[in-house]
Structures are given as C-alpha cells and as structure tokens.
C-alpha cells in the first residue's frame, strides 16, 4: 500500500529560502533553472561486471553494474532475451532510506529506468536468443545508490546508459545442451540511447535536475526520457501536486535539449 511519505523535518525558514531563491531565478547551489549540476561519469570500475559506471551528479552518487547471464525467456516472448532492471536505495545513501525489501521509491526508480531502455528498444533483444523459447541471454541492470542528494532518476539513467554502452561480453553459443563461450569480447548490442531528464516544480517555477533541498519542497516532479532521435520514450510524474498543460509542453522541449547534451557526455565517457 502506498502512503503519503513522512518527510524529515526541514525548518520552515530553510524551506522558504529554497522556494524564494527559485522564485527569483536563483537556486540554492547557484545554478540557473535549466542547468544540471556537475556531471562526472566513470566506466569500468567493476571488472567482474560486463559493464559498470559510477556517476556523480553533484553530490548524488550512483553505481550501475550490468551483468549478462544465461536464462530462460518469458513464455510470451520466446524469441527475445530478458532485460531486468533492479534498484537498491539502501540506508548507506541517505538517512531517508531504510533496510528491507525495495521501497515503492526504489521500485518506481527501477521501473522508470527500465521503461526508457525497453521502450526505446535500446538493447537488441532478438540478438540475445540462444535457442528460441528455451535459452536466452539475460541482461541485468543493477542500480546501486551510494549517496542521495537529489535527482536519483537522472543519475541512475545516465549511469545505466554508460554501463550498457561500455559493456563487453563473450559470445555465447549452445553446444547441445550446454552454453559455451567463444573467445574475444564484443560490445553489448545497443541500438538506442535513452536519457532521462527530470524537472521539479518549486513554487510556480520549474527547475531541471533538482537537488535534495528542492525535492523536499517541490510540488511535483516530471521525468521525460528522450531517445536518440529526439522522441519521448518514457514519462513519469511524481509528487503531491501537478503541472499545467503549458508547463508540460515547455518541459518536454527542454528535455529534448538537455538529453542531447547529457547523451554526448555519456557516450564520450563510455568510449573511455
């Protein structure tokens, strides 16, 4: 059951400061409304994963690992591989997070990232089939939040794409019943590059890439995921209030632009 979350007590004065700043075209960390925090992407940190990327978005830190393993396809898609996105919002990353099974926030995060990858057909699922209906390759995208200072969706989206784009895998084949691996590393077959761009409505103003303090006072949140051709491939509104029709139009166009900027950085980092 989902219920209204208990936000940590933030002093009214502090809340007012954040809102007033945004109302005056400023932000608590001196950015403009439409600019991201500093973005740092490092790939390949986890040698045991097929792909990995650590992303610092300001003080938010996310690590994503990609593993490719052999498994069984879903009965209704016998000629496709399997993609699984999982997120851990563990208590290491924030006093707001608790131990235990994935919270609704973790599930939402994972599903939004999943939708962006899946709907843009980023991973070439057909090429992951070893034996139709019986054996396919399963791509696990595991999102590990290390430090939560706001906008985890974009940090995770960026890290997931960087990890996928830099992933290397052995070519698997079936010999009789057994999976054998051929020598030589190949890239994971990637056809698209979805990038999530998240906005927060603070007071009446919309800012991109909200920092934690802004998330704690925002009225609503919107994530727009843009694929490489500039089309929308996923959206998710969050938060207790909403957006006007005009706001949505503006935001979608800004998302296209911001996604392109971040995509260039991601692909550059993934190439090393």
């Amino acid at each position: 059951m989902s219920f209204t979350p208990q936000l940590p007590p933030v002093a009214k004065l502090e809340q007012k400061t954040v809102v007033d700043l945004v109302a005056n075209g400023k932000r608590i960390d001196d950015r403009t409304a439409d600019s991201y925090r500093q973005l740092h992407i490092q790939v390949g940190l986890i040698e045991k994963a097929n792909g990995s990327a650590q992303v610092h978005l300001g003080k938010s830190k996310v690590l994503v690992g990609v593993k490719v393993e052999t498994g069984t396809p879903f009965p209704d898609t016998p000629d496709e591989g399997v993609l699984t996105v999982n997120a851990e919002l563990g208590p290491l990353a924030s006093p707001l997070f608790e131990t235990g099974p994935p919270s609704e926030q973790a599930i939402e995060l994972a599903r939004v990232i999943d939708r962006g990858i899946r709907e843009s057909k980023a991973v070439d699922m057909k090429s992951l089939v070893l034996l139709k209906g019986k054996k396919v390759q399963v791509v696990f995208v595991d999102i590990y939040i290390l430090d939560h200072d706001g906008n985890l969706i974009d940090a995770a989206s960026i890290a997931a794409l960087a990890a996928l784009a830099s992933a290397k895998m052995l070519k698997a084949e079936l010999k009789g019943d057994e999976v054998v691996y051929k020598p030589g590393l190949h890239s994971l077959p990637l056809n698209n590059h979805p990038v999530a761009v998240t906005f927060a409505k603070v007071g009446k103003t919309i800012v991109v890439d909200p920092v934690l303090e802004e998330e704690q006072v925002m009225n609503a949140r919107l994530t727009v995921t843009i694929e490489k051709n500039g089309n929308i491939c996923a959206m998710q509104k969050g938060g207790l209030s909403g957006f006007t029709q005009d706001e949505l139009k503006t935001v979608v166009h800004l998302a296209v632009q911001k996604a392109a900027e971040n995509r260039a950085k991601i692909l550059a980092a993934a190439k090393g």
């Binding site: 989902s2 209204t4 929308i232 491939c233 938060g239 207790l240 139009k249």
Partner: protein, 255 residues
Amino acid sequence: MPEPKQPEKLIDDKGIRIDGRRLDQLRPIKLEVGILDKADGSAYIEQGKNKILVGVYGPREAHPKHIALPDRAVLRCRYRMAPFSVDERKNPAPSRREMELSKVIRESLESVVLTDLYPRTTIDVFIEVLQSDGGSRCAGITAASLALADAGIPMRELVAACAVGKIQGHMALDLSDAEDKYGEADLPVAWVPNANLVTLLQMDGILTTNEFEKGLTMALDACKTIHGMQQEALKKKYLVIKEVAEEREETEVVA
C-alpha cells in the same frame, strides 16, 4: 485462458478501430456510486471491459501509529488486480507494477483531498480491478474520486483520468487491451480541471513532441467529458438517497 490473437489492423481504411470507435472516441463508461455496505464510500466503474470497484475508509485512526502525520491525514492507496482480471491468471502476491501504480494513483489524488482537516488520521483508498482492459489506472482514479466523495471526504474537486495512445501512427483516445498491446505508445493522464493540473502523467512507447502535445489535448478533452459523467453519477446517487429518505425515515440506502 489463451490470449486473443493479434488483429491484422488496429484501424481500418475508414479510420475506425477494432471495436468500432473513432480515434477520438471513448469506450462506453458506466459509473455507480455507493454500492458497498461496509466501506465509508464506494464507487464502481465499467469502461470498455474494465470493471473496477473502489472502496474508501476514513478518516480513521492511523494504524500503525508511526505513519501518522501531525498536520494532515495520510492518504493511503492500493491498486490491486484480482487474479482472474487478466487473460493469464495473476499471482495474488503484489507485483512491482501494482506497487508503482498505487504510488502514482495516490499522487494523482493527494492535491484534491483536504487532508489538513484530519491530522493524525488515514484516508484509505482500495482500488480493486475485477477485470482489466487497458487504461485501468485511469478508470481507477475516476472511480476513486467518486468513492472519496461518497465517503464524505472534503475535496477541492473531482479528479478525472483517461489515457490516450498511438496506434498505427495515429493518436487515439482511451486504448483497449489489444490497442495497448499492439500499439506504439500509451499515455495515461489524470486531470484536476479547475486547478488545471495534470496530476498523473506516465508514458511508454515512442512519441514525438508534437504527438505528445496532440495526445495531451485529446486526453484533457476526454477528462472534461468524464468529469461531467462523474458529477452526474454523484447526483444520481444523492437523488436516490433523497427519494428513499422521503419514503423511509433514515437516509441509509442499499446499493
């Protein structure tokens, strides 16, 4: 049950969809208010083959206590699919999809409920999808608004919801199961008309920004229509009650 087969075309040469609708046409909608005995408020919606029952309890004492908020009621929401509501039986354990939808549905309702009138309590919204046919989250929101009103919970206004999608390259209103499955995109929207706030918005598939804008307009127009139906349904319920009240002495009514 084996799933229905993929239709050859989703739209025919005359622009008519597999269930006979035009692109901008809603499925038939039936709304009923106050049909449960134990719940404080309830509503039932049929939209296409969707059959959804919503029950509301509250404001009532928060349980467990630690979830209570000092300055407002906690709104709780559960979206749940009956095991028999879909072609292939759904495992009764809550799925990740159900958990996500419970959250976004709750967030679509939060801004209209006057929760600050009932600090330290909970208002519980249980959405039971008895049969699902595409657009169940939107139909659930439409019915949940009515159930909240039926429970006598003070609200700024009703929330109406409807999805729009893309099939065979065209934006089309209120996708059915087959259109959702074999179409190119789905865009569920919830709208608070007077505040002019979109309080639920999700999308999956591929849309150009133009298609998004067009689709959003179609969805909001449909929400307006549905909002009218919601008000009719509430009136009907209260008319019935009034008549009954004149016959008997109490205002209680069997749905």
